[in-house]
């Protein structure tokens, strides 16, 4: 079954009714022309929120640890005093750790959306399927 809406209001009413009837995302596809926070809030009453944040967190922590661990490893790999500084020079290493926190945080988050939203979808790259600027709910009748 397929429902198409020109405006958000009708779409959200229908969606809410469906959720109240026990319909879940597993059995339906929703298409929107742009992100909608209201719809997100509505859906998240019944479904789990996006788990993307864990990717960002893990990426950021990995970057931070890598930054400190890597710089520390290199100074001990061939101990050589430069500029009379201590081997583990916290302030300069913080700069490296900071940049890597951001870098890996961003890259992990990007990987996160690819994994969670199952992108890239090669079959859909050249598909003619056009959703346009309508809000669409497609319900899988098979089950």
């Amino acid at each position: 079954m397929e429902y198409r809406f020109d405006n958000k209001k009708d779409f959200m009413e229908k969606l809410e009714a469906l959720f109240k009837d026990g319909m879940r995302l597993k059995r339906m596809k929703i298409y929107m022309p742009h992100p909608e926070h209201d719809v997100e809030h509505l859906v998240e009453k019944y479904e789990k929120p996006s788990r993307l944040k864990f990717f960002t967190l893990v990426g950021g922590l990995t970057g931070c640890l890598t930054g400190f661990a890597f710089t520390t490893y290199t100074v001990f790999s061939w101990p050589l005093v430069t500029g009379g500084k201590p081997f583990i020079s916290i302030p300069p290493f913080t700069v490296i750790a900071f940049e890597l926190t951001i870098l890996l945080g961003a890259l992990f988050s990007f990987a996160g959306i690819m994994i969670l939203a199952r992108l890239p979808k090669i079959s859909k790259m050249f598909a003619e399927e056009v959703h346009g600027n309508e809000y669409i709910i497609i319900i899988d009748d098979a089950r």
Binding site: K29, P35, E36, S77, A106, F110, A117
Partner: protein
Amino acid sequence: MSSRTTETFAAGGHAHEHVSDPKAVKDQIEQDIYASVGKPGRLFWIALALSLGAVGIGAVCWAYQIYTGLGVAGITNPVGWGVYIVDFVFWVGIAHSGTLISAILFLFRAKFRSKFNRAAEAMTVFAVLTAGLFPLVHLGRVWFFYWLFPYPNQRLLWINFRSPLIWDVFAVSTYLTVSVVFWYIGLVPDISLARRLKQVKEGKIARVLYGIFSGGWSGSFKEWQHYGQLYKYMAALAAPLVLSVHSVVSWDFAMGVVYGWHTTIFAPYFVAGAIFSGCAMVLTLVIPMRKIYRLEKYISIDDLEKLAKLLMFTGLIVGYAYIIELALAVYSGNVYEYEQFMYRMGGDYAWAYWTMMICNIGTPLLLFFRKLRRSIAFLFAISIPVNIGMWFERFNIIIISLAKDFDPYAFGLYTPSLIELGITLGSFGWFFTYYLGFTRTLPVLSVTELKEEVEHGR
């Protein structure tokens, strides 16, 4: 589609004016913004030819320098950092307002960002690509550039992580990567729309490319849900990154003991300057683009005025930093610092110093007049002296400080050679070539965000 509904949206009220037919408005937005994609006009080809010509000049100069040696540049003792490093800092600075507009203004929910973010992010990416060339150009043996990468050399010595130049490698490459990812994320839904454009015919290579880069985005709820999260986190990561990158660039100087460089205010001073120059460059790029692609409906004078206010604000910070820098030189009682600033104001390069002062302190003050702030011609006109002034700011910091160091025996003057100027010209061509390509292949405004605003009012 009545154009009235779109106008309501564009001119649009601050209130939640209800759009009678949101779908029609959204269709119209798509049509208007994607109109720029496709067959370019004559003006485009002329601009592209000029840009490519400049790239050609730059390439010939660089090839000559690589073949002959770094001696063809004007840099020598004591001024070992010349126009190349000036250009590097200038372009990194230009890159800054893109992420400011897309990330920081996003976190602050400043609505006018959606009018500039796509163009500004593109500008950021291209400006970092331009900036990244200059450390290479500055190398005598460019084929050894990879020595900067963190790996142990033949004697198993690693690079020195205490060197600000290495921080710079990390900061700038992180900045490039994150800006590209951020820009691309915003583009994905828009690229997936471009697939079905009338201009992009079936079987054309452009269609295949749009398909590939869209990643098969279909606009499903799941995709949007993760997208919303991703955008938020990317903005949160990019915001401190913007502040850090130009701080790190400033430490390339501030960590040295050279007078005129060794100052604690350098990091905030550089960041403000970067955003100042970046906003000016956004105005330089967006005002002609708005006119040529007929985007007046979407980028209103109010939006441009907000950008002008940002320019004025950062301009005031820059002016404040110039004065504090001077005041500290006098107040510190340090004879070298004092002499350095006296030399800047009245020495061999006084012309460059006063060019900077007039362009960067004087011109933004004119923006206090509401009438001027709302004049599009004036905004375009003012963006040019700001760009020039910010280039000279870096010239003053780098060159004047090196020209007059501690020991009078080691004083020396520097004049840029034609090769250096040729490569500088080439960098502008390189930047504009990318930018021109962008305006004809990708939507210059974020269609997704404009559509979102239809639902939410402005």
